[in-house]
């Protein structure tokens, strides 16, 4: 039985103007992701991978095309969603992981993970201790980010991304700041998350990480080169 489609993007384009020049950062990409699927988005620098990830993560607007998230039309309908509605969609559907972790240095590991819970009732907060244990950071709860290794910081960022109980994890170069061993650990964690039914879509240059995905989407010059 096929799993539900959580992301459906049809003919998505993003056009910037740089002076008189028109830059097509994303050029007519169509894409689907299902629950529990792990997709690696690869391609050379400047090919439009991150722009595409930001659009499907509702952080950026496409210039054209349609986007549905969890069966709900986000872009390409009759009326655009408001900033508030987009925020609520992000809250409900997405967990974000970034290369630079973006942990708050004055908050402890536990507080960083629970950060979304300070602003709204995060459904994953109850299971967060289990998540922390599964990520191997349960003994670091009272530590500050500055006291952690890169791998530990990324695990904390992953735990934080899970607090709102997302259906999709969007990871932009999640192993970009890590050594090979730590990158391998993160790969395992992301694989596990996909196994739990979360769609994991990651932009990466790490070929090992890309190979572990169920599917690879290669983008060149804003277009899908191979899928």
């Amino acid at each position: 039985m096929e799993k539900e489609i959580v992301i459906s993007a049809v003919n998505i384009s993003k056009v910037y103007r740089r002076g008189s020049e028109e830059v097509r950062a994303v050029d007519g990409i169509s894409f689907e992701a299902r629950a529990g699927e792990m997709v690696a988005v690869v391609g050379p620098s400047g090919s439009g991978k991150t722009t595409f990830l930001n659009i499907i993560g509702c952080l950026d607007n496409p210039s054209s095309g349609t986007l549905q998230v969890g069966g709900r039309r986000i872009f390409g309908g009759r009326g655009e969603l408001s900033e508030r509605e987009l925020t609520l969609i992000r809250r409900e559907m997405f967990g974000y992981i970034f290369q630079k972790f973006y942990l708050i240095p004055t908050l402890t590991v536990e507080e960083n993970i629970m950060l979304p819970g300070a602003f709204y009732k995060a459904p994953g907060a109850r299971e967060v201790y289990g998540v922390m244990k599964s990520l191997g950071i349960e003994r670091r709860l009272r530590h500050f980010p500055g006291e952690l290794s890169g791998g530990e910081m990324q695990r904390v960022a992953i735990a934080r991304a899970l607090v709102n109980g997302p259906k999709v994890i969007l990871a932009d170069e999640p192993t970009g700041s890590l050594d090979t061993r730590r990158a391998e650990e993160i790969r395992e964690i992301l694989r596990d998350l996909a196994g739990q039914g979360i769609a994991v879509i990651m932009v990466t240059h790490n070929t090992g990480l890309a190979r572990s995905a169920d599917r690879i989407l290669e983008i060149r010059d804003g277009k899908v080169h191979a899928a």
């Binding site: 930001n54 993560g57 952080l59 950026d60 900033e83 508030r84 925020t87 609520l88 992000r90 809250r91 409900e92 974000y96 970034f98 630079k100 973006y102 708050i104 240095p105 004055t106 908050l107 507080e111 629970m114 950060l115 979304p116 819970g117 300070a118 602003f119 709204y120 934080r160 709102n164």
Partner: protein
């Protein structure tokens, strides 16, 4: 974890900057509370001093009182006098309840202070004066036996200064007669504390001022028309009428004018503190631009971010304001001593009268000012677009 925890912890991120900003707020709160307390204390002290004079109308010899004061400071010979029989004339008025004649005389005392100073003696009527000042009570002894006795009653501070006790002799420069101290008053918190009282006839005899008075205190009957009495007294030759109500009103008007200046100074202090708050919080927002973007990408609404930043301002101002007001209480006596140094003729009693109302008002004003100054940085933070913020970190 709550927004308040995040706000509080963020303030600890740059401790020195937070401490300096809170220090600025504390300083403005201190200035505001102290100035308001001073204004109130001065008014209370003045009211008390005038009310404790015991009479509502004072009659003095005609002439410029400032000139008289200057002459007195230069040797005590310039005071103007009025005839003692004015007492009988005044008593004929139906509004008058009691009168008390007074004769002030100043003598240069070369042994007083480093370069000598004027020692003032107030001759009072043993029969009527104590009745005008029922609040005066004695630490030792009592009032004079009669108006011709060579006796003295010393105010609390005068006794301390002269180092005299009941039974001791009081030496008056240029006077051969021995004056015996028969009473020492308890502290009253009024100008009487520094006064040396002698029987009025004794002062007249000692200083060759027989049949002369410098002042006549008049107490008016309850419910009587003071204005009518004053108008009649104005017609008396060679005397001037000083209405205590008018004196109080005039001085209060001056004090109220001074209050405008005082509040202006406090206002400037608050504006400077507010500028500090805007600067600090805005810097903090700019430094956390990407972080705020990440929080918004995680699902925080603009209002959440606004509240978080505004909460930082509230904590900063609340803490700074409370510290400043605490400091005002701690340094109230010190500020009072400084005021007395520069204004030696300030009223008696606590000059910086701080209470919960003044403290509360100062705290609310500072916090409100701080919160107002936090609106712009909070609004800027709330408008951060997640993607732009995350990109800015990468650039």
């Amino acid at each position: 974890m709550t927004i308040y925890t995040i706000a509080y912890k963020n303030l600890l991120r740059k401790k020195t900057r937070t401490a300096l900003t809170a220090g600025g707020i504390a300083l403005s709160a201190w200035v505001l509370a102290t100035l308001l307390g001073f204004n109130r204390g001065y008014q209370q002290g003045l009211n008390k001093d005038i009310d404790n004079m015991g009479f509502q109308v004072l009659l003095t010899a005609k002439g410029c009182p400032y000139e008289a004061a200057t002459l007195m400071l230069k040797g005590g010979v310039g005071l103007r006098y009025m005839p003692a029989d004015v007492v009988k004339t005044v008593f004929k008025n139906p509004e008058v309840d009691k009168v008390t004649p007074m004769l002030m005389h100043g003598v240069f005392d070369p042994n007083k202070g480093e370069n000598g100073a004027i020692a003032a003696y107030l001759g009072v009527d043993a029969a009527s004066f104590p009745g005008m000042k029922p609040y005066l009570d004695f630490k030792q002894g009592g009032w004079f036996t009669d108006n011709q006795a060579y006796e003295a009653v010393l105010g609390y501070e005068a006794a301390e200064l002269e180092q005299r006790e009941v039974g001791d002799k009081l030496l008056i420069p240029g006077v051969a007669r021995d004056i015996r101290v028969v009473g020492i008053l308890n502290r009253s918190g009024t100008q009487d504390d520094g006064t040396i009282f002698l029987p009025i006839t004794t002062v007249q005899n000692l200083f060759n001022r027989r049949g002369m008075l410098t002042g006549l205190g008049i107490r008016v009957k309850k419910g009587a028309d003071i204005s009518a009495l004053e108008n009649r007294l104005y017609d008396l030759p060679d005397v001037q009428v000083v209405s205590m109500a008018q004196v109080k009103s005039t001085i209060m008007n001056l004090v109220n004018s001074a209050r405008v200046i005082v509040l202006g100074i406090a206002g400037i202090a608050i504006i400077i503190a507010m500028a500090g708050v805007i600067n600090t919080i805005l810097m903090s927002v700019m430094e956390r631009y990407a972080e705020i973007g990440i929080i918004k990408s995680m699902g925080a609404l603009p209002l959440d971010i606004f509240r978080m930043i505004w909460m930082e301002t509230a904590l900063l101002c609340g803490f700074g304001g409370a510290a400043g007001i605490g400091l005002a209480f701690v340094t109230a006596r010190l500020a009072e001593a400084a005021v007395r140094y520069f204004l030696p003729y300030a009223p008696n009693g606590a000059l910086v009268a701080l209470d919960w109302r003044i403290s509360g008002f100062a705290f609310l004003l500072i916090t409100a000012g701080g919160l107002a100054s936090g609106i712009y940085p909070a609004w800027r933070a709330a408008r951060v677009r997640p993607l732009e913020a995350i990109r800015s970190e990468g650039e």
